[in-house]
């Protein structure tokens, strides 16, 4: 029992933070927002130069074979800059293929996804019709769906790989509030779909990967919101004093930190529990996803309030955090959903 990072984990975290802080600048993110919501050059250098895309995927297919703790460190670092990158696709679709795909499917897709050559999208729906290798249905609100080359779609008990350029696949992009991770609707009409041979494992991997990814990037975003607000609190003077010297202001900063430290425990508890195959993994994942998303929203909304008028402007980055936070709260199950899962674990089903 040792709830502290190893030296290697610390190094991965520092490398990832330095990389995103230097490269995922506000200017580049805003360029991506004005385009299709991805900084493609940054994604390529993340995948190839830094080589961290496959950190938690098997070495056979170009990954590093490490675990969710290491992946969470990377996602936290990306979240700290609200980077416009399709990391969630890796955490869901690529993990689903790695966990539930055949050797052929893995060797076909994983190297491409890890090198950044292909981008993956994921969505789950209650039902879809599948027969004779053809899939019919609508998979809505796919993150980075408009630029994805390949999708993993799931319904309870089943999972498929669908190529974006296959016949019968229509991708309809939305204009979204969070422009760093735009959404798209994917409509399938007799679209060729390859079933994943082990859908249960694939869905399990999507859950652990997706929820940890969102929780970790929320943690990074929340910490950034606090750090940036602290910097402002020291520099902005009103009534002849730095505004950070006023208790009404300080106490909000303290409240942010109190939540963030719990969010940090949540992310690394969940990551550790998944890596160790602990019986607590499920409750930890629901806890992490709901708690971290709420923490991020609380911190991002405080960031706007504590910056005053400047925080309401388009030019300031506060709204990037605020919009990402709001989107993370709903994505892959909202807080009430995850808390109800926890309630069911401790109280049983509603009688």
């Amino acid at each position: 029992m040792e709830f502290a990072f190893t030296e290697e984990q610390q190094m991965i975290g520092e490398t990832a933070f330095a990389f995103f802080a230097e490269n995922a600048t506000s200017e580049r993110t805003r360029r991506a927002m004005a385009g299709n919501g991805i900084d493609r050059a940054l994604w390529s250098s993340f995948c190839t130069e830094l080589g961290l895309a496959g950190i938690a995927l098997p070495e056979t297919y170009g990954g590093a074979g490490l675990g969710m703790i290491e992946f969470a460190l990377v996602a936290e670092a990306a979240g700290a800059q609200v980077a416009a990158l399709p990391l969630l696709g890796l955490a869901t679709a690529a993990r689903a293929i790695a966990a539930g795909g055949s050797d052929n499917q893995k060797s076909k897709w994983l190297p491409k996804l890890l090198s950044g050559e292909a981008i993956a999208g994921f969505a789950g729906m209650p039902k879809a019709d599948y027969a004779d290798g053809k899939l019919n249905g609508t998979f809505d609100l796919v993150a980075h769906g408009a630029i994805a080359d390949v999708f993993v779609f799931v319904v309870p008990g089943k999972a498929w790989i669908v190529c974006a350029d296959a016949p019968g696949v229509s991708v309809l992009p939305y204009t979204t509030m969070d422009q760093t991770r735009p959404l798209a609707k994917v409509v399938l009409e007799n679209a060729p779909a390859e079933a994943l041979s082990d859908p249960e494992s694939a869905i399990g991997a999507v859950h652990s990967g997706g929820w940890i990814c969102l929780a970790a990037e929320a943690l990074g975003g929340a910490q950034s919101a606090l750090d940036r607000t602290i910097a402002y609190a020291k520099e902005r003077v009103q009534f002849g004093r730095a505004i950070g010297s006023f208790q009404a202001y300080k106490h909000r900063l303290a409240d942010m930190m109190i939540e963030i430290e719990q969010a940090r425990s949540a992310v690394y508890w969940a990551a550790c529990a998944v890596d160790e195959g602990s019986g607590d993994a499920a409750i930890a994942l629901h806890a992490a996803k709901s708690f971290c998303a709420d923490t991020f929203f609380m911190c991002a909304s405080n960031m706007i309030q504590l910056h005053g008028g400047i925080g309401f402007t388009w030019d300031h980055d506060a709204h990037l955090f605020f919009k990402r936070a709001r989107s993370v709260q709903t994505m892959l199950g909202n807080g009430n959903f995850h808390r109800e899962q926890v309630a069911t674990m401790v109280l049983g089903e509603i009688a």
């Binding site: 029992m1 040792e2 709830f3 502290a4 990072f5 190893t6 984990q9 703790i69 606090l226 602290i230 609190a233 020291k234 004093r241 730095a242 950070g244 010297s245 208790q247 202001y249 300080k250 106490h251 900063l253 303290a254 409240d255 930190m257 109190i258 430290e261 719990q262 940090r264 425990s265 949540a266 690394y268 508890w269 550790c272 529990a273 160790e276 602990s278 409750i283 930890a284 806890a287 709901s290 708690f291 009430n336 808390r339 109800e340 926890v342 309630a343 401790v346 109280l347 049983g348 509603i350 009688a351």
Partner: protein, 392 residues
């Protein structure tokens, strides 16, 4: 980063669980499950001594002082099994968790010899004399005076909120030893025997009807000149060092008591149907999540071996658990409905919960109010400018 325990540690867990369960089923069955810190005090003192005899009292201490030199993981395990077995809280928690570690860190060899074995043996019960009627949040403004006279310290003044003073043998106090000094300067940290004519203890009845806290009056109370820890005038440094021990391994034992409280609330909700209310379910889930995160927060804090800088995260711990428990008390009342109004009635099985509702109002006050905690977090962990100080 690793959450699991090794096979040897699991063996140690089994050993702890077996021993503790056997004691609670046998000789000490009469104190099993007591939640109040004051109930059956004499039997609880016997329990302290029983722990001492079997070397379970202060397992993290070095063996020469009555401990086992246990690792962090072993201390975590013992704290967890202690609460799981339904063993009541330690009436000497101030001696074991505060006075002892302070002596280990700052005491002379002679002082360690005089006090540590007896604390570990459960023979010396300690209480803490810090707060005063006019030194609450502003703790450094203590007025209790100490002067050296004929080889003795002579102490005059008043302390308040001295938890468990009425069952304690010794008290440590911070007193102003330098005439005319202000704030944290000129204070001295003294250990005093309670059983003497100059010390008078009067209980304070609390909003839950219990009387864990006291007023303690010092009228020419004395202790030998070598009763101080550290040097004359540096009592504040010792007091602050001591308060840091409050965030030690004992927090995990405290959490297991919280676990029992939440489990009791969950049992009540299942029994009376509140568990079917979606809003109650959300709040219970939040409480469950909060408690789990508290555990991993404490493990992170304890696993942090770099003590050279301020551990900002550790500063958030007190307000976190205090607020969690206050919320739990409020949730308990919503779960119980009108039955929550019932207290001290024979045969009423949920009594723990209304008492929790009342007692938890103290959690966000003692040991530094939530407001003071926020100031500390903002100033020490986040580097915000300090509050302006008026003239004392």
């Amino acid at each position: 980063m690793k959450l699991g325990f090794s096979p040897q540690e699991e063996l140690f867990r089994a050993e702890c669980a077996d021993w503790l369960t056997a004691q609670m089923a046998g000789e000490f069955a009469d104190i099993k499950g007591i939640a109040s810190l004051t109930e059956k005090a004499e039997r609880r003192k016997e329990w302290e001594q029983h722990l001492g005899v079997h070397k379970w009292s202060c397992i993290g201490w070095p063996p020469e002082w009555g401990g086992r030199g246990a690792s962090l993981a072993e201390q975590v395990i013992f704290a967890e099994e202690y609460a799981r077995a339904g063993v009541p809280g330690r009436v000497n928690h101030i001696g074991v968790e505060l006075a002892g570690p302070t002596l280990l860190a700052f005491g002379t060899e002679e002082q360690k010899k005089r006090f540590l074995p007896d604390i570990a043996a459960g023979k010396t019960i300690f209480c803490q004399g810090f707060s005063e009627p006019n030194a609450g949040s502003d703790l450094a403004s203590v007025r209790t005076k100490a002067r050296l006279e004929d080889g003795h310290w002579v102490v005059n003044g008043q302390k308040i909120w001295t938890s468990l003073a009425h069952i304690s043998d010794w008290i440590f106090v911070i007193a102003r030893s330098e005439e005319g000094s202000k704030g944290p300067k000129g204070l001295t940290f003294l250990m005093m025997k309670i059983d003497q004519p100059g010390i008078d203890i009067r209980p304070i009845k609390q909003i839950n009807g219990d009387a864990e806290f006291n007023e303690t009056f010092f009228t020419d109370a004395t202790c030998p000149s070598d009763s101080l820890i550290g040097t004359v005038g540096e009592g504040w440094k010792i007091a602050m060092g001591l308060l840091a021990f409050e965030r030690g391994v004992s927090t995990l034992g405290q959490q297991m008591a919280f676990r029992n409280e939440l489990d009791s609330l969950i049992a009540a909700a299942k029994r009376n149907g509140a568990a079917n209310d979606p809003l109650i379910r959300q709040r219970i889930a939040k409480a469950e999540i909060g408690l789990r995160l508290m555990r991993f927060g404490a493990l992170r804090m304890l696993s942090n071996s770099d003590h050279s800088k301020v551990d900002g995260a550790a500063l958030t711990y007190k307000i976190q658990w205090a607020t969690w428990r206050r919320n739990l008390g409020e949730l308990a009342m919503d779960v119980l409905g009108q039955m929550g109004e019932v207290t001290n009635t024979v045969g009423y099985e949920w009594e723990l919960l209304p008492n929790l509702f009342l007692y938890s109002r103290a959690d966000t006050i003692y040991g530094g109010t939530n407001q003071i905690q926020r100031n500390m977090i903002a100033e020490r962990a986040l580097g915000m400018p300090r509050e302006p100080r008026g003239d004392a």
